[in-house]
């Protein structure tokens, strides 16, 4: 187990560097620069800018500099926002995304698990059909539709919640619900499928034969096995949520990482884009590792050698 974890951690580093390299290449292929605008710059000014930011050096020198920065953990200075370190920007905006993301995931987990389990227990009942239909809706309505619909209902019809911007618990409700909807739907469907499979399996039948109560069977035995698909979904989902979700952050004007990430690409703010990419890719790999470890605890049949 320990060897497995160490091996995986060692793999994360070259993977992250590979992702950063590919991203760097892609950014370099995109036309335009961080300083281009409708107004052409006088040649002398452009030359000064290129010198200041090392853009006059050959590409391998620039690549080396960038890689050195990334490896040392100092992601450099933003090109667009003068004097602001990339580390500082990520550190500043991560909490917004994380709060919304974690809240949304907890909500999704609560709703999804409850609905999925109940639906599995009462397969083909009214509740099963109803909850799975709602889940299907949740999956098919994109956030940019659901968000404005919720705003219309709760901000402009019922006048209960603010339509956008960060500030106060009431401002969190709509973005969190918008974000949670699709995840709750996923989790509900995954839980239902997982539970249905487990409930039909031999060890549950054995448990029943031993005369255990339905409650014990459900919570001690079935849920653990039934949750495995949910757990494997949780890893990347949580990483993605923490790193910010562009659409929800845009619709609700939340100063999260997703918003900054997209802007950094439009701004051609190379250090910022690379920094966020490196951060997100490491986050995803770490969460995947955590998921793999969690399997071992949830399902005694899985062993890592």
């Amino acid at each position: 187990m320990v060897r497995f974890i160490i091996k995986r951690i060692l793999l994360i580093i070259p993977m992250a560097l590979l992702v950063v390299t590919l991203t760097w290449g892609l950014i370099r292929m995109a036309p335009g620069t961080f300083y281009s605008s409708e107004k052409k710059l006088p040649a002398a000014i452009e030359k000064n800018i290129r010198e200041r930011y090392g853009l006059d050096k050959p590409w391998y020198a620039q690549y080396g500099l960038m890689m050195g920065n990334v490896i040392s953990g100092d992601l450099g200075i933003s090109l667009k926002y003068e004097g602001q370190a990339v580390n500082e920007i990520i550190g500043r905006h991560l909490p917004y995304s994380a709060i919304i993301g974690i809240a949304a995931y907890l909500l999704a987990l609560a709703v999804g698990l409850a609905a999925g389990t109940l639906a599995a227990l009462r397969q083909n009942s009214f509740f099963d059909y109803a909850s799975m239909s709602v889940a299907l809706l949740g999956l098919s309505i994109p956030a940019f539709v659901l968000g404005p619909l919720l705003v219309l209902l709760f901000s402009f019809t019922l006048y209960l919640l603010p339509p956008a911007r960060w500030g106060g618990v009431s401002a969190l409700v709509l973005p969190v619900v918008t974000l949670a909807a699709v995840y709750a739907a996923y989790i509900a469907r995954l839980t239902r499928a997982g539970m249905l499979e487990v409930l039909r399996s031999d060890y549950i039948r054995t448990a029943r034969a031993k005369g255990l109560s339905e409650r014990t069977i459900l919570f001690r035995h079935a849920l653990r096995g039934g949750l495995i698909p949910v757990v494997s979904f949780t890893g990347p989902a949580l990483a993605g949520l923490l790193a910010g979700t562009v659409v929800v952050e845009k619709v609700f004007a939340i100063p999260g990482l997703g918003n900054i990430f997209i802007q950094s690409i439009f701004n051609r703010d190379e250090p910022l884009t690379l920094g966020i990419v490196a951060f997100i890719s490491i986050l995803i790999m770490v969460f995947n590792l955590a998921v793999d470890i969690a399997y071992g605890f949830l399902d005694p049949r899985i062993r890592y050698e």
């Binding site: 107004k39 003068e82 911007r165």
Partner: protein
């Protein structure tokens, strides 16, 4: 699956129900929640996140509006017309050649930390703006200041036997001594003494410059090359409260330019202490009506009234919160929900305009100093042929386009109508004279300069692309539509305009120009490097309130017109106009230059943009001026409902006693001059 359908029906009913409730409650006079904020703080959506709080760095308008709260300059934009009004300079005088200006500063101006502001601060500030290491992207706006361009682009003077070589030394013409204006100083004499030549600092490039000109070679032989330094540029503190700015050429609009962010005052003591970190909230020192209170990037920048400000008694708001929001529908939601009091220009999405227009007390639709046109790449065929360019210009019905766009007006020339009334008159007179000379009636003239599909088809046919009648319309099978395209940057509005114009060309010329939508920076690169064939969308907002800000688009070889147009004759016409000291005569010369460039047609003119934003009726002293740049100290929140704005159509011509009086008091110091 019955249940499934039922739940869908339920959800749909809920949504439709909420729409209905919405619709029934929508008969209100105002758009959404309209209550005055309790704390006398204006909440304003300022657009994209500010790039920097250093006014020398950023060139954007969202930043400009924030700088206007935090930093004062010599002058400020007038709230309604953007004409310069006194700020830290209580008055100014213009030299006889309109190339020297003396500013008298008030002695009670202070930084937010209480330190007094003197003329030396302005000298420092301008020198810093032009310093090559500041990397200011707006410095070129100030190139009118003598030797500023040479300093900014790191050039060198040529000095021989202890004296600088001037232009007249080279061409043998008598040295032009400029008239003295103001106190006689050694520095001023050195500035007036002919125009020194400057060369590239890079020895290789300098060699090349010298090689091409034998006179220059002779002059440079044995000469030393002295880098142009900050001490050479035409800015001088005559005493603690008197500042002289000398220009390289007459520029009657120069004082108007000084309200631009580039010329606003930056604090030497904070910059020298904190370096690049001086704009951080904990370090920043400001000199505007408001000072920094709280800054959470991408969320809010809150400023509060600065008691140190020289005119603090006349600042009405206790503070302003700038919200950096870009998503248009989010901005509209915030406005409707009463979470903001006003928004930046062009925030109403086109799909909302129809509904929002009916709120006559809030929706601001006024002429803007901004034009939309399509540049035609004159360096690549077939658009290097004036007949082709003319055909496409004549085939667009601008009136129909404006009606379609709802909030714009037709653009017939390079400079928009209705922004510079005196210039409009001069232009009309020039046009009348040309019309009389050509012996055309008004109708014929208007058709020639408006939409004339028949002439357009004739012109395209003459250029070698015959337009033939086909069915109910026309066809032009030989026109190279496989290489030509209409390029624009990805945006819903841009696409709508492109499709409209494309349809007009199809109808009138039988040519279907393919549309090409590009991401903004990609688009800019292609446009600026003339890396397109056919048309590239262009939008231009005036930098200052003078027609030259538009006519200059096609001036000099490296210009921002996007067409590759360069014509020394046009440059000469503009130079002559700017050398003219009489304002009305200057306008006439500018109008002649405009007529000249319109004969060459580097562009297909489209529309004069119009302001398109909302403010709550209780926000007063905030006007839809041609740049929607707001001098914040005039803005106030009216708590008395009976005095709220009614029908903003007359807001620019009507009077607001409070604003009028404040403006009169403020400008009295300059009128006394």
């Amino acid at each position: 699956m019955k249940l499934n359908n039922r739940s869908v029906v339920g959800f749909t009913a809920l949504v439709i129900g909420s729409f209905l409730i919405q619709a029934c409650g929508g008969a209100s006079q105002y758009f959404g929640k309209t209550e005055t904020p309790r704390d006398n703080i204006l909440r304003y959506v300022s657009g994209s996140e500010p790039e920097s709080l250093d006014p020398h760095v950023s060139s954007g308008q969202p930043e400009a509006r924030i700088y206007m709260a935090l930093f004062d300059g010599l002058v400020e934009y007038g709230p309604k017309d953007l004409q310069p009004i006194p700020a830290i300079a209580k008055s100014w005088e213009t030299g006889p050649g309109v190339d020297t200006f003396i500013f008298h500063l008030r002695d009670n101006a202070r930084w937010s930390d209480g330190k007094p502001i003197t003329a030396e601060d302005f000298v420092y500030s301008l020198r810093r703006g032009f310093a090559p290491e500041t990397l200011s992207r707006t410095a070129s706006l100030g190139y009118f200041v003598k030797y500023a361009e040479a300093y900014n682009s790191g050039r060198v003077f040529v000095r021989k036997n202890g004296r600088y070589i001037t232009g007249s030394d080279l061409d043998g013409t008598p040295k032009k001594q400029r008239a003295a204006f103001g106190p006689d100083t050694e520095f001023d004499r050195s500035l007036r003494d002919g125009e020194r030549i400057t060369l590239d600092a890079d020895p290789k490039k300098r060699e090349k410059e010298i090689e091409t000109d034998p006179k220059l070679r002779a002059a440079a032989e044995g000469a030393e090359f002295v880098p142009v330094s900050e001490n050479d540029i035409g800015v001088e503190a005559i005493d603690a409260y008197t500042l002289r700015i000398s220009l390289r050429q007459p520029a009657p609009f120069f004082v108007g330019l000084l309200a631009h962010q580039f010329f606003r005052l930056v604090p030497r003591h904070a910059i020298e202490r904190y370096g690049k970190q001086w704009t951080r909230p904990e370090n920043i020192v400001t000199c505007g009506a408001f000072k920094m209170q709280r800054y959470v990037p991408y969320n809010v920048l809150a400023v509060t009234r600065d008691p140190m400000y020289w005119d603090a008694a006349n600042v009405h708001l206790d503070g302003i919160e700038f919200y950096p929001v870009e998503e248009l529908s989010t901005i509209m939601n915030l406005y409707k929900g009463g979470q903001i009091d006003a928004m930046l220009n062009h925030s109403v999405p086109s799909s909302w305009i129809g509904d929002v227009r009916q709120y006559k007390d809030e929706y601001l639709n006024f002429a803007e100093a901004a034009t939309a046109y399509y540049s035609m790449n004159m360096t690549k065929p077939p658009f290097n042929d004036i007949r082709v360019r003319r055909a496409f210009q004549l085939a667009v019905d601008r009136k129909a386009l404006s009606d379609f766009r709802k909030v714009t007006k037709p653009l017939n020339d390079i400079t928009p109508d209705g922004i510079f009334p005196d210039y409009d008159r001069a232009r009309a007179a020039v046009a009348d004279a040309s019309r009389a000379k050509a012996g055309l009636s008004v109708e014929e003239w208007d058709r020639k300069h408006g939409v004339d599909p028949e002439a357009a088809r004739r012109s395209l046919t003459e250029a070698g692309f015959p337009v033939i009648a086909e069915g109910n319309g026309f066809a032009c099978p030989t026109f190279p539509t496989d290489t030509v395209s209409l390029t624009f940057n990805t945006n819903e509005n841009n696409r709508a305009v492109a499709e409209f114009v494309q349809a007009q060309w199809k109808k009138n010329l039988g040519v279907t120009i393919p549309l090409k939508s590009q991401e903004f920076k990609t688009f800019l690169k292609d446009r600026n490097e003339l890396n397109y064939v056919g048309f590239a969308q262009s939008l231009w907002s005036g930098d200052y309130m003078d027609p030259f800000t538009f006519l200059g688009l096609h001036y000099a070889k490296q210009n921002d017109g996007g067409s590759g147009f360069y014509d020394p004759k046009y440059d000469k016409l503009l130079d002559d106009a700017n050398n003219e000291l009489d304002p009305q005569k200057r306008y006439e010369l500018l109008a002649r230059a405009e007529a000249y460039v319109m004969d060459q047609l580097p562009v297909v003119t489209l529309t004069v943009n119009a302001t398109n934003w909302l403010k709550k009726p209780y926000v007063k002293g905030m006007y839809p001026n041609p740049g929607t740049l707001h001098a914040w100290k005039f803005v106030y929140i009216e708590t008395d409902r009976s005095r709220w704005d009614r029908d903003v159509e007359g807001i620019m011509t009507g009077s607001d006693a409070r604003v009028d009086q404040q403006l009169a008091e403020l400008t009295s110091s300059q009128r006394g001059q």
